[in-house]
């Protein structure tokens, strides 16, 4: 990835992340988040992790973000009113987070091999980042973790259905499955 392209993507990603926290309409925040996640997928592909970049685009941008969008619509969230009087809190949070980011960046700068110097050819094999290479690690060294992941996803699905149900105590006959009514205002 040429330097100018990286700069472009990085600036756009930072602007998108700022959009996530600055927009007052949750849907606009979500759209900014979609931009950030897509750009991170681009960076994955630029780093050679092609399969992972596509996974990121499909799972995050395709699935998780649609879930967020449905919930925002379901809750019928409106644009928040502009609130005053919390300027000090916001300022303190921004200063603390800026310090944290500076520390992390300084640490990374020192720890990364080569530092700021341009890296030479990365030590990547011919099929680095392919689905085959990723699958070989997942099905080999991390087989147990990979299988536990399926249990985790199953538990998450069951838990999400149980939590989001209208009346957890009632049986399936008395509640209307798949129906989420907004509460009376």
């Amino acid at each position: 990835m040429p330097a100018w392209l990286f700069t472009f993507v990085a600036v756009l990603a930072v602007l998108g992340a700022l959009g996530v926290i600055l927009q007052r309409n949750p849907v606009h925040s979500l759209l900014a988040l979609v931009l950030v996640l897509s750009l991170i997928a681009v960076l994955f592909i630029a780093l050679g992790a092609v399969a992972l970049g596509f996974l990121q685009a499909i799972v995050y941008v395709g699935a998780i973000m649609v879930l967020f969008l449905f919930v925002i619509w379901l809750l019928n969230l409106e644009t928040e009113p502009r609130e005053g009087g919390r300027l000090l809190v916001k300022l303190a949070a921004a200063v603390l987070a800026a310090m944290l980011a500076a520390e992390l960046a300084a640490l990374a700068w020192r720890a990364a091999p080569g530092g700021a110097a341009a890296a030479g050819a990365l030590h990547q094999g011919a099929n680095y980042g392919s689905m085959a290479a990723l699958a070989k690690v997942l099905m080999g060294e991390y087989l147990l973790a990979f299988e536990v992941t399926s249990v985790l996803l199953l538990a998450a699905v069951v838990g999400a259905v149980a939590l989001a149900r209208k009346d957890p105590g009632a049986g399936p006959q008395s509640s209307t499955p798949g129906r989420l009514e907004p509460p009376l205002r």
């Binding site: 949750p26 809750l75 949070a93 990723l134």
Partner: protein, 100 residues
Amino acid sequence: MVAPSYYLALSALLFGIGVVGVLVRRNAIVIFMSIEVMLNAANLAFVALGAEAGSVEGQAFVFFVLTVAAAEAAVGLAILIAVFRNRETVNADELTLLRW
């Protein structure tokens, strides 16, 4: 070729922005989105360091983070729906049941 340090610096910046979002915003869904930004910043650091070392394991970790994030989003949003049904708000300042 861009050095991995720049990817790590970008990752640190995105993580910091996510921290600000969690600290400043009061809408629980936007706090959730800020956490997703932080998760992705960590993923970017994983992939950048893995690419530098030429190992696929960084990508394997990101794969696991991806699945955990999917599970977390599903359960977390279900909790938000349950909270909204009971309290009719997802404003973190108004959810004070556990505050003494």
